[in-house]
């Protein structure tokens, strides 16, 4: 091997701090160059030593005492911080603006959702909501009632009445009421024996 790798390349290669291409290039070189391989090994050893030596405390340091002093100072620092902190914290948590902000966001999102709905959906939802609002009135509405009696036939709905009266001495011969909303009565005049048929139907 006529040329050796650069020293900084070997230093970086030792801990894998190179780009892939350079790593391959230096790796191929060191595989065939004993001198460079030894340099890489020396850098790796330095790295291990550095890690080991850096975990050593400074000479003559009484760590137990220093650690106790530091722990105490940290406690004091935290206590001092607690004394100062509450005002700032309360200001952030308390107040009406978070509620207003949330309400505003909800309204904005609801409006955006409503505007993005297809027209048919909005109409059906409106109809359903109107139905909900007026539901008490609808329930209170009277259904049409058809009554047949000796006096005639009467249709009642929402307080209005339609009555077909059979006057004179006619007496009902037969009265029939169907479940589909109609009633009819057959009357026979006692003087003339004429038959009158009266029908009332509710057509919707």
């Amino acid at each position: 091997m006529s040329r050796h790798a650069r020293e900084i390349d070997l230093a970086l290669y030792a801990a894998g701090d190179m780009s892939l291409w350079n790593r391959i290039s230096v790796g191929l070189h060191t595989a065939n160059c004993e001198q460079c391989k030894a340099r890489v090994q020396a850098y790796r050893t330095d790295r291990e030593r550095l890690k080991q030596d850096a975990s050593e405390l400074p000479a003559g340091l009484n760590w137990e005492r220093l650690a106790a002093e530091m722990t105490a100072n940290i406690r004091v620092g935290l206590a001092a911080g607690e004394c100062v902190a509450p005002r700032g914290r309360k200001r952030v948590v308390a107040g009406w603006w978070p509620v207003a902000a949330v309400a505003g966001t909800v309204m904005m999102l609801s409006a955006a959702w409503w505007l993005n709905l297809p027209a048919s959906d909005t109409q059906s939802i409106s109809h359903a909501m109107r139905g909900l609002v007026h539901s008490r009135t609808v329930v209170a509405d009277e259904q049409p009632v058809i009554e047949a009696s000796s006096g005639g036939i009467k249709l009642s709905e929402n307080g209005s009445e339609l009555q077909v009266s059979q006057g004179g001495g006619a007496r009902p011969k037969a009265i029939s009421v169907s479940t589909e909303g109609s009633a009819s009565a057959r009357y026979i005049d006692s003087d003339t024996d004429q038959i009158t048929i009266t029908s009332v139907m509710n057509v919707q």
Partner: protein
């Protein structure tokens, strides 16, 4: 971690949970050493390590996962140290022999062990002393903290290529320093 008698007057202000106490005791040495290696003196390292822990503990919600919290604490610690160096624009490696309390000799070590440890420390401190602040910080974050080069670049507010250059220069300088000492 045992408390020294001199610190008992602070015991009335406890850390608010066992988890926090554990978090502090498990990470204190590591954080102190990381900062110490960056700033180079014990007094500043002590102040900055305390500052880093207070910053971390003021955001207690981050302590749910202690492993992640330890990683996050390293970030705070290195940022605190780097900010300090930026603000002060200085680096001082004090002569540890001259510092008074709390330095005492380590008990329970043989004279040979003491000499060996002392040699290693002296070699490391002398080696780190020849590096620029950025080279030293980049090297410590990459090789001691095992931080990826991208993260180191983000921490030092520079490009990945620049960080690689700092790391490479630092390793080469250290290697030459060790070779000179060996010779």
């Amino acid at each position: 971690m045992s408390e020294a008698p001199g610190s008992t007057r602070f015991d009335a202000v406890p850390l608010s949970s066992e988890r926090e106490t554990r978090f502090v005791s498990e990470n204190m040495r590591r954080v102190f050493l990381l900062i110490y290696r960056i700033v180079g003196n014990v007094a500043d390292a002590q102040d900055l390590a305390q500052e880093a822990f207070i910053k971390a503990l003021q955001r207690r919600d981050q302590l749910k996962d202690l492993d992640k919290a330890a990683h996050w604490l390293s970030r705070i610690a290195s940022n605190t140290a780097i900010d300090f160096l930026r603000r002060s624009g200085r680096v001082s490696f004090s002569d540890l022999e001259d510092l008074p309390e709390p330095f005492v000799s380590s008990p329970g070590e043989s004279p040979e062990e003491l000499v060996l440890r002392s040699e290693h420390r002296e070699r490391l401190e002398a080696g780190l002393d020849i590096l620029t602040v950025r080279e030293r910080t980049a090297l410590l974050l990459r090789d001691v903290e095992d931080m990826p080069a991208e993260d180191v670049a983000a921490r030092l507010n520079c490009s990945k290529a620049t960080v690689r250059s700092h790391i490479a220069n630092a390793r080469v300088k250290l290697r030459r320093h060790f070779e000179r000492r060996k010779a």
